[in-house]
């Protein structure tokens, strides 16, 4: 079957979709957007989290046909989403005194692409919340959504909001740091 939907603001069409395919499969294998990850395909790990009509969902549990006509935002579209939300301040302008600041700025200027990162993406790098990185895209989508709804979360709020995203590498401590960092930067307006 044919499926049409919008991904990260762009209309997309997929043809010859098998009816049992998930939205995750179509994103990864048909649309060239493998950022959403296939860790469990049973809704237990959150690594495939995308926003479907604005709401975080496990894309492995959405049948491709159910996405017809809907709007999907994946990790690949997070930076654009963040830019639309804010007034376009560069994420590279991190406040002084942050851990890893020197490297942060250097990576920014070196790659020339960090200005395109969403604040939550920047914070995950800076806080050391990324190891193997397989859980990272889903966590970023979930954390970004939480900070949109709850800009000043308590630790318990963060843990609850991210309880659907498994990470096997970090022990979650640096992920907590990253979300706190993103929240702090957000509240300082950077």
């Amino acid at each position: 079957m044919r499926v049409n939907f919008t991904v990260n603001g762009r209309p997309q069409q997929a043809d010859d979709v098998w009816e049992g395919e998930s939205l995750l499969y179509v994103l990864r294998e048909r649309l060239g957007l493998p950022g959403s990850k296939n860790a469990c395909e049973q809704g237990e790990c959150g690594s495939c989290t995308v926003r479907l009509d604005g709401v975080p969902v496990c894309s492995c549990l959405v049948a491709a046909g159910q996405a017809e006509g809907r709007e999907v935002v994946t990790v690949e579209g997070l930076a654009d989403l963040a830019r639309q939300r804010s007034d376009g301040l560069s994420a590279c302008g991190t406040p002084p005194g942050e851990a890893g600041h020197a490297q942060t700025r250097d990576t920014c200027s070196q790659s020339g692409e960090s200005g395109e990162l969403a604040p939550i993406q920047r914070a995950f790098i800076d806080a050391g919340a990324v190891q193997c990185g397989f859980c990272t895209p889903g966590l970023l989508v979930a954390a970004d959504d939480m900070l949109e709804r709850n800009p000043n979360p308590t630790d318990a709020d963060i843990r609850e909001a991210l309880s659907g995203n498994l990470c096997r590498c970090t022990g979650y401590e640096k992920i907590m740091d990253a979300v706190r960092l993103a929240a702090a930067r957000q509240s300082e307006g950077v």
Binding site: E19, T49, V62, A63, Q66, A142
Partner: protein, 296 residues
Amino acid sequence: MDFLRPASWEEALAAKAEHPTAVPIAGGTDVMVEINFDQRRPDYLMDLGRIGDLYEWEVGEDSVRLGASVPYTRIMENLRTELPGLALASHTVASPQIRNRGGVGGNLGTASPAGDAHPALLAAGAEVEAESVRGSRRILIDAFYTGVKRNALAPDELIRAVHIKKADGPQQFSKVGTRNAMVIAVCAFGLALHPGTRTVRTGIGSAAPTPIRAAAAEEFLNAALDEGGFWDNGKIITPSIARQFADLCSAACNPIDDVRGTASYRRHAVGVMARRTLTWTWESYRGTAHASEGVA
């Protein structure tokens, strides 16, 4: 496999009548797992996601008509007052992502004894609105679960909504899992006080082939509360009553040993949850109705 996309409820009923083996999919949180893991290959998948009515709810005089696909997140956020037990149960469903998609209709359709909504529905009192091209009917929740993952729906029927009694007293829900979030129930317990009728209702999950009520426990407690004048005097329920209620709830279970837990633990845990949820709800009832009363 064919993918059916009815644009309206009528179309969905017609499709289901034409293809009784069609598997309805809404949140997808059960169906897609089975498809991804090659455990199920239905001839037809029928997407109910386009039928807006299923995502709406109405708060009536005595009950809430909850559309079958209203996501758990909505229930938690919007129906905490009217359906406190179900709101608490909704909060224990899997993860935020799953709660954003899954709804009570899916729990009922799958009819797994581990479905989180069931104990809350049983305790609150509910009717399932099932419909087919032949007509609509209401199935009492107590009669809905007919076996392990079986329910009272006819092959051509779909669940349109659930009519749940609005809370007239405190309700609680508790679930044991071996993880502190995102866990399938080892067993679960729902309890609702109904001061209007001076009754207590219960619901037990994952401790019998189907979700059940602890009928004998309810009877005992209703009588004991009545006898002691507790509804009026608002005194603390005596430990012996609470214990006996808990024991009767345990005795109502007919659990199995499986990879999630043992039968004897399930019985035990249901008893503990019964006692605790009774204490919490009763404290809440006393707190609102008889805050100044002393210990019985």
